[in-house]
């Protein structure tokens, strides 16, 4: 039972891995058994990927955008999450749910006006357009996650510090942030993975090869008309997928806790 499901889930990734080391001649023979190496494995596809395309550059672009978006997200979401958890009353709760709901507004509804706005700002075809727009889906979700996280910290800790003469803000910076490292780290990982996965905006705003991120670069550049560089394509997909997946896997439970809001008590 579980075996069938696992096969269904993991097979495409296994397939990427096998294809990565296959010679083109081996891939392009109909009679060949696709499950085995009919010709000796090769590193040629990886060579093409790393030296004949801008793959490394795309990885760098993705990382650059990711880091900048993480910084913006933290600056906006950490204080907001704390304010929602501690300082606001009834309207704070409404606001919290409102912020979370904006996470559900899909890029496919916003990308048309966004493309115009980005053009008017002169950010067309620049990585800065992504840095500007990506926090619009990371901030709502991360604010929500952090709110839950801060709520779980006993208020007594800050109150004790405030009795000792610390201001509310001081208590937040000196007491709350240090014990929230795990929560903040979760937000960092999610922001990075969301940036890595984003496709619609990147496809809409970016048109020159040197500015691509991985999720758009691999599908557009390694397909030339009807010619698919399957070996390199699969290598590019596998390398960009699996490490992220491993990272994500460590944090997935928190993510789900954020998703399910109050449905589990």
């Amino acid at each position: 039972m579980i075996g069938v499901f696992t096969l269904f889930s993991a097979f495409p990734f296994y397939w990427m891995l096998i294809t990565t080391f296959k010679r083109t001649g081996d891939l392009m023979k109909r009679g060949n058994n696709p499950f085995i190496y009919n010709e000796p494995p090769t590193l040629e596809n990886l060579r093409v990927l790393f030296f004949d395309t801008l793959y490394v550059r795309w990885l760098g672009n993705t990382l650059l955008v990711g880091v900048l978006v993480v910084v913006i997200t933290l600056l906006l979401a950490v204080p907001a999450g704390y304010a929602l958890a501690r300082l606001t009353g009834r309207w704070g709760e409404q606001l919290g749910i409102g912020i979370f709901l904006t996470y559900l507004v899909p890029p496919t509804l916003l990308f048309i006006p966004m493309s115009r706005v980005i053009g008017d700002l002169g950010l067309q075809d620049s990585l800065w357009s992504l840095v500007l727009v990506y926090p619009s889906f990371t901030v709502p979700f991360c604010t929500w996650l952090l709110m839950g996280f801060f709520k779980a910290i006993p208020p007594d800790l800050e109150e004790a510090a405030m009795i000792d003469g610390e201001s509310r803000l001081g208590a937040f910076v000196k007491i709350v942030i240090p014990i929230s490292v795990a929560g903040i780290l979760t937000v960092v990982i999610f922001t990075l993975t969301l940036v890595m996965q984003e496709f619609v905006y990147a496809l809409t705003f970016i048109s020159s090869v040197s500015q691509f991120t991985v999720s758009v670069g691999v599908p557009t550049f390694l397909v030339r008309g009807d010619v698919y560089f399957w070996g390199s394509l699969m290598a590019g997909c596998f390398i960009a997928s699996v490490p992220v997946a491993v990272l994500y896997n460590f944090f997935v439970d928190r993510f789900i806790a954020g998703f399910t809001v109050g449905a589990i008590k």
Binding site: M1, T6, P12, F13, W15, T19, R30, P34, F35, L76, P79, A80, A83, T88, G92, L95, I97, T102, L104, P106, P107, T108, L109, L110, F111, I112, P113, M114, S115, R116, G119, P135, S136, S167, R168, L169, Q197, F199, T204, S215, V216, V218, Y228, W230, L233, M234, C237, A240, S241, V242, Y248, N249, I256, F259, T260, V261, G262, A263, I264, K265
Partner: protein, 293 residues
């Protein structure tokens, strides 16, 4: 002054709210506004055209097909996802050796960048070198002349894109349901055991009613993702063959971004809104009800 809660709260939350208003709220209203104008990618001025875009597109076969496909794609994939995710979540409840590895493998489709995962499928479905077809042929189920063109035949293409979407959303739904299952207190299960409830009765009368709210949440997210997603379809079929897998999101992209007709593209995308509104309402009711518990 800065330390009084009535000042500090708004001060801390202000920047985030401002950002969201500017980058989600504003574009959202712009989308509504554009849908009433004749704006194009190159134009400097806007002419107001009222509801003309809407009356124009509603009549076209292209739009009606896309609307129908959106529903088929979203509802079809969600039904399959919920059924499979329930089975899988129940199976994953037990402890067994290597569970963490199985969990990791099952989560892969959700955590890997979707555009890249979908390219893996593009290769698996390839018209000439499809591994599925090779296997079926090796098993003697099909011959060289009856190779199915997974992405080239109308019905098969729809089945393929729904299948890949199921593959992508199944992990999320499963993990959400697992969280729901593990939140049921063990003594409820024990009590049922003591009373001698059969497996099915236990499932139908105890387990399912208890995880209904969380199932609803999983379905809601799934519907939103399926309704508004364009990545799977964009990578696999570009809406083809002959628009049989064209959905609202891809149609909006091809019309508004690639065709440059922002007004009409926006009008198509705006059709996604009523659905989102419905989802938001249900979501709020669930959230409110669980606050009471």
């Amino acid at each position: 002054m800065v330390d009084r809660p009535e000042w500090l709260g708004p001060l801390m939350i202000g920047p985030a709210v401002l950002y969201i208003v500017l980058l989600v709220g504003l574009p959202f209203f712009l989308a509504l506004y554009y849908s009433l104008t004749d704006i194009t990618a190159g134009s400097r001025t806007l002419g107001f055209v009222g509801l003309r875009h809407f009356t124009d597109i509603i009549g076209t076969t292209k739009f009606q097909t896309a609307l129908k496909n959106t529903f088929i794609f979203a509802v079809g994939s969600q039904v399959v996802v919920i059924v499979l995710a329930s089975i899988l979540a129940l199976a994953m409840q037990r402890d067994f050796r290597g569970k963490w590895l199985v969990r990791f493998l099952i989560l892969l489709p959700w955590v890997a960048p979707i555009s890249l995962g979908t390219i893996g499928w593009l290769w698996i479905f390839d018209s000439v070198y499809s591994v599925i077809n090779w296997t079926l042929e090796a098993l003697g189920l099909i011959t060289q002349d009856t190779w199915p063109m997974w992405l080239g035949k109308p019905y098969l293409a729809m089945i393929s894109v729904v299948g890949v979407h199921v593959w992508r959303l199944l992990p999320l739904a499963t993990v959400i349901l697992l969280a729901g299952l593990s939140s049921i207190p063990q003594d409820i299960h024990d009590a049922a055991q003591v009373d001698g409830a059969s497996f099915w009765r236990h499932l139908v009368q105890i387990t399912l009613p208890l995880i209904r709210p969380i199932m609803l949440v999983a379905t809601l997210f799934g519907v939103v993702f399926a309704f508004t997603d364009m990545i799977v379809i964009f990578v696999l079929t570009r809406g083809g063959p002959y628009d049989t897998t064209q959905v609202l999101a891809t149609l909006a992209f091809f019309t508004g971004i690639q065709g440059g007709d922002l007004g009409e593209g926006a009008a198509i995308a705006v059709f996604l809104f009523p659905l989102l509104l419905a989802v938001a309402v249900v979501f709020l009711r669930v959230a409110r009800r669980s606050e009471v518990v």
